[in-house]
Symmetry: C2
Subunit: 483 residues, 2 copies
Amino acid sequence: MSKTLSASDFRFFETLFHPRSIAVAGVSENVRRPGGAFFQNLIDCGYKGKLYPVNIKGGSFGKLEIFRHVTDIPCPVDLVIVSIPRDGVRELMRDCAAKRVKSVQIFSAGFGELGDKEGKQLEQDILVEAKKGGVRIVGPSSIGIGCPASGMPLAPEGFLGEPGDVAFLCQSGSISLELVQVCTRRGIGLSKAVGTGNSIDLDTTDFLPYLAADDKTKAIALYLEGSRESPLLFRLIEDISKEKPVLLWKGGRSEAGQRVVSSHTASQPSPSPRWKALARSSGAVWVESLYEMTDTLLAFKKVGSFRGEDVAVVSGLANGGGGTGIAAVDTLVAAGLSVPRFSGVVRGELQSLLGRVGSILDNPLDVSQAVRNPDKIEKAMMLAAGEPNIGLILLHENLYTLLRWLDREQLLAMNRRFIEVSRRLKKPLVVILPREMVESQSLELEQELCRNGIAVFPSAERAAKALANVAGYYKRRSRYTLT
Amino acid sequence: MSKTLSASDFRFFETLFHPRSIAVAGVSENVRRPGGAFFQNLIDCGYKGKLYPVNIKGGSFGKLEIFRHVTDIPCPVDLVIVSIPRDGVRELMRDCAAKRVKSVQIFSAGFGELGDKEGKQLEQDILVEAKKGGVRIVGPSSIGIGCPASGMPLAPEGFLGEPGDVAFLCQSGSISLELVQVCTRRGIGLSKAVGTGNSIDLDTTDFLPYLAADDKTKAIALYLEGSRESPLLFRLIEDISKEKPVLLWKGGRSEAGQRVVSSHTASQPSPSPRWKALARSSGAVWVESLYEMTDTLLAFKKVGSFRGEDVAVVSGLANGGGGTGIAAVDTLVAAGLSVPRFSGVVRGELQSLLGRVGSILDNPLDVSQAVRNPDKIEKAMMLAAGEPNIGLILLHENLYTLLRWLDREQLLAMNRRFIEVSRRLKKPLVVILPREMVESQSLELEQELCRNGIAVFPSAERAAKALANVAGYYKRRSRYTLT
């Protein structure tokens, strides 16, 4: 497959993520075993295509008879999920080639990542067999292809996620699953998800051109421990970054991490400082943890491009906002954003509105004097956010304190007003909600805000990093556009 | 008061944190107003001493008659909490002096922090009146003195916390309250807590010698925006750090943050790079956020001094541990800790135990192959943690995946085995528990682990920073001890 995407390549990937039929090899009635779990999960997640259980030993799965061979299936098969011991994979691949299966996803492990001759040889043999029938391979040692819109979950654990517009390609199964988990919790929906595993055939550089062309994908997140073709990888990232953000998290940045990379995904370890430099110059968004990745995805989705890098900080809901506001400013500035003074006129108006005593009437703005007066808080926010240079409002709310002064309904009503302010001024609102001691109330409010397009972070530190990543991306992109 | 602590100074502070009687000035029956809230909270939190409500307007609080003046109270008063408009504070102070009250804590705001002549003058007048009767002042603009063992909560919101051995001095009310909130959630108990506010009399440098001498306090956390006496401050920190850790978080590190510091606590802003250098050379533990501060306190409490800086990373519970383990290693190494290879012997034994396929049999160790076999996992952990150079075990568990394979009881039983391994080997165990999607189950397990002395963090990044802070402190201290 060439790295520029032909129409037939595009159709191939469309079928990979929206297969009309799937066979699972290695199914037994025991759904605690991976094969049975894969099969049951497809049913549970609402996969709409045809499903065929396969096992060399035969038997049945519920009312379904299990096919002994893929070649026994009487209809065409788009995708085969392989969950059998590694020694049977070569023969299975022969069947898939004979059956003209379009793709296989190999969950089975014990190949190149073992680092011995036998594992490498097995991979080669499988590739040869697959090529005979034009079968493409995802994996081995891959948790597979996920697509919430198709009802296709990842892994025997059956992680589906919500449909949405973020795609990820991830060399690690465990990180893929944590990504789905955190994305689901934070309201980040997924278009496509791939655990690439050992990538003996289809690799990150094959998927990227498709994800670039896929109009259901608005942002791409990568976790990579290495690449066989890093010059190509960074060329692709550079191209795509002009249109959609590509987030890159490199696993094995430390020597100690690199040491085990090869026994994990059989990747050639890649030196991290070089990757970081390549990422920067290609326009990728460099992230260094799962939380930085998901926070940044959330900021891309809910905040997007905000004008300039000037933030208005509003605190004091409800425990006196001084220190909290100052701490938020410190962390925003450290991340590269700016928190400029308000104009004299606005500072004067804030003083008449809130009174001098117990208030900080600048940026950061402390509204604690008005905690039981939502009208005043709304006006104060309008004044702060109305400053022409301000591109974004960062609001710190502490429910543990707020709920001592307001009941649940008053709290929600107040937050609806904040949403309105943000809409009226067309300036994104970002809310910091510490979760401690108020886990369930915090979750409820977070989901309500999220439904209304507001990004919520558990700390100012995490918000600052994500917002700076997003601002940096759009700054670089505008330079591209100008030159 | 001298900065070296005399016996009478010590007694003074003992009485401040364990007063036999408290009067609250500004009490009305409305417990939504600060005065009434302070009074009601002392009752609700189980304060055992005598309580007197005071209000110039008289009236009653429940069945209690409100005294019009402090001087009307027929018994001695150790502490007066002042929650009246600022213009009445001078006269109230005259009464307190006449009554020979030991200390007052002024919640009222509108003094030096306003930055005008009038506010400064008021502060001076109050000081003069107080000195006439030997009355010491906390504040003004202070949320006060907290001591869970005495049933004394902070602020009108009544934040008490659990009794324990961490003391904090905090120039910000909002940050004090978030500290109590997060500490309570994480199982960090408090010995003493002070919101110092404008510190016109008793300042951080007055409290520190007492906290150094207080055997109920094992660690001290400071949030400071500035200090009138920074040379003394850092001399004190240097002395104390030889015995107990002092954590220092400086508010107003950025220029934008500094700008508002003076209108917050009337502090002289202090340049942050200089403070950071002074903190380092004085042996303080420098932290830069609320979460870094509480994470580090937790690590001091639960982990303490661990031998060397060598960490064994165990992952694979339960979603394949490769990427998660590598990511944890990257973050530990970036924080300055080390994750060395296991010996050939141990790697060999791990292979016989777990099998090669699908495993990473080194440090990090992936135990995912044995997820339903707690015996094997326990043995693997014994092998990894038994390596002589390993000082600490970092275990990554993901309940969202684990609970697909185990029920709640099995999960708790497995974790009890991990606690046993840690005890048997006398090597601290640190557990990473992502909270997303499993908030309540995660909280339950966290509390169970916490009760058994195990530190739990929501991410490897946060654990790594905290552990590196703790390791750095003990390294510096051992150098002190040697020279």
